[in-house]
Amino acid sequence: MNCNELKILLSECESLADLGQLPKVTTHLKDCAACRAALLYEGKLRQGFAGIAGEAAPPDLAARIMAIQSEPATETAKSAESTEPGWLDQLLRSLQGFPFKVAFAAGLTGFFAAFLILRQPQLAPVNEPATIATRQKQTAPVPAKDEAFQLAKAGREPTGSHEKTLLLETTSAKKQREPGGDSMQLAMAPKEEKAVVSADDHKIAESSELGVAPGSEAEADTSAEEQIPGAVTFALDSSADTFVADKAAGAAAVSLADQPAASEPEMQLAMAPSPERETAKSVRPSAPARFAAPPPVGETHTRISASQIMSESRSKKFELSNEMFAETESSDPLADELRKLIEANAINLPEGFISLDELAMRGYLPAEKLRRLRPPTGSGWYLQKTAGQMRIFLKKR
């Protein structure tokens, strides 16, 4: 062993006593005074460091460090008790699944969005309510199996009390409608208006009993209202938290929903373009107004709940159906003309759309009459045979 190897050993060994026991080291140390001095120096140095490391720390440090073990032990025990997962923690932990959180957040956002949208009050008065779906003007159809309809068609005296009531309602509705008032409007009116209207009913009834004509300012106002048939506007009644329908549209909507199949002529008329409808109206001056009129300009719409509308309109159903039947019976003069033409010529036509071109080709319709009877585009004259009676009305193809 040489001096360098001994220096390396000295720097790396952990125990000088063990190093001194090695034979090759002792052999080298016997002959090398420098290495003996280096070994001695190393020993002194390590003793010095050991002496420094063994110097006492401040007395309070031991107490502070001993307290570390006891304090956290109680704290950890307390925290272990306090961190017992409660039902809320468990619930929140269960909600930590990412897809569930996303779905939950989306649902919550959607709910609040819908809530805010529906709760938003409609500030501006709705003068022109939106029409349903196609913006085509629609009529309130009359059910064919309607009780009042059947009674009216049968033309017999009501026997039961119910039938009498129906008849009374029908006559009452007619009386209301005649001076310009609108039964649809009445049906759709809110409670306050209904109270007024019911008072008017009494007046009408009384006046009819007394033989006095029931003309009033209210009726004149109503007749002056601009009417947009088929318009249905839904809004939220903030007090009742229910949808309310515009009074002008509610009855039509309810009637459309309730009686889908029995008022084909009314539907045809309603779906016809406005010029033709005006023509039809002028041709039928006696035809009653079919749709509720919107409120006059500047008047805020009174809103009633949809449930109210439903119940009230159901109670007026028989009046409406009877009224519509009367209108159907009066019907379009063009339809009457066509019906008379068919009956006069004893043309046996099947139930369905009538081909005017075919009638013209067969010589029943002159060109001038064909042009006059030509139905509007998209619709046609429909022949319906009910109980041996022939009905012709415009129907959308």
């Binding site: 720097s11 790396e12 952990e14 005074a33 420098a34 003996r36 001095a37 280096a38 001695l40 120096y41 002194k44 140095l45 390590r46 003793q47 010095g48 460091f49 002496g51 420094i52 490391a53 063994g54 110097e55 006492a56 720390a57 401040p58 309070d60 440090l61 031991a62 502070r64 460090i65 001993m66 570390i68 073990q69 006891s70 956290p72 032990a73």
Partner: protein, 191 residues
């Protein structure tokens, strides 16, 4: 029966106070001196020592075996570096130290024999103060804390060869300083 530090530790974390006290007796002094020699502040050294024991107890589950001494002094070293950084007089420890020439001390055997233990302690303390921070910390970890070279490499998170180089260079600096002091002492004592 003498227990290893790791065995004492297992008992201490279960609430065994004597084991915890024994651990303090084993490591409290070296840790305190490690901080004291590197900071030269008694209060700070005591606070840092307490912080080391607090940390090891709080993160007792983080100790996954190995050398308890290495774990304790790794925490101590990190606390010291944090303190240096907070004080702003040190950036990071340099990995590449300049090579120092090995100058033989040349101190005679009788001169060394003549130096008493107390004198040696005083000289070491003076030399440590003169050492640069890297060398001082390395010397303290090896000679004060009693870490082996592999343990030092683990504590300082560096390769074993780098740890050896660091120790060697730190020792050369320290030896040069000590020899100079001993020569001065020999002249003073007329040896």
């Amino acid at each position: 029966m003498k227990m290893t530090p790791e065995e004492l530790w297992k008992l201490a974390i279960r609430g065994d106070q004597p084991a915890w006290q024994k651990l303090y007796e084993l490591f409290g002094g070296p840790v305190y001196q490690f901080f004291l020699r590197n900071t030269r502040n008694v209060e700070m050294a005591a606070d840092k020592t307490q912080e080391v024991f607090l940390r090891i107890f709080k993160s007792r589950e983080a100790f996954g075996g190995g050398s308890l001494k290495s774990w304790i002094f790794r925490i101590a070293r990190n606390l010291l570096i944090d303190e240096w950084r907070r004080a702003g007089h040190r950036e990071v420890l340099s990995d590449n130290l300049p090579e120092i020439a090995d100058t033989a001390t040349g101190v005679e055997e009788e001169v060394i024999n003549a130096i008493e233990h107390a004198q040696m302690k005083e000289m070491i303390d003076e030399c440590l103060e003169l050492l640069d921070e890297d060398s001082r910390m390395t010397v303290c970890l090896v000679y004060l804390a009693g870490l082996s070279i592999p343990e030092l490499a683990s504590v300082m998170e560096m390769p074993l060869g780098t740890a050896k180089t660091r120790v060697r260079q730190a020792r050369l600096k320290l030896d040069a300083m000590l020899c100079e002091k001993m020569q001065i002492k020999r002249v003073e004592q007329g040896l």
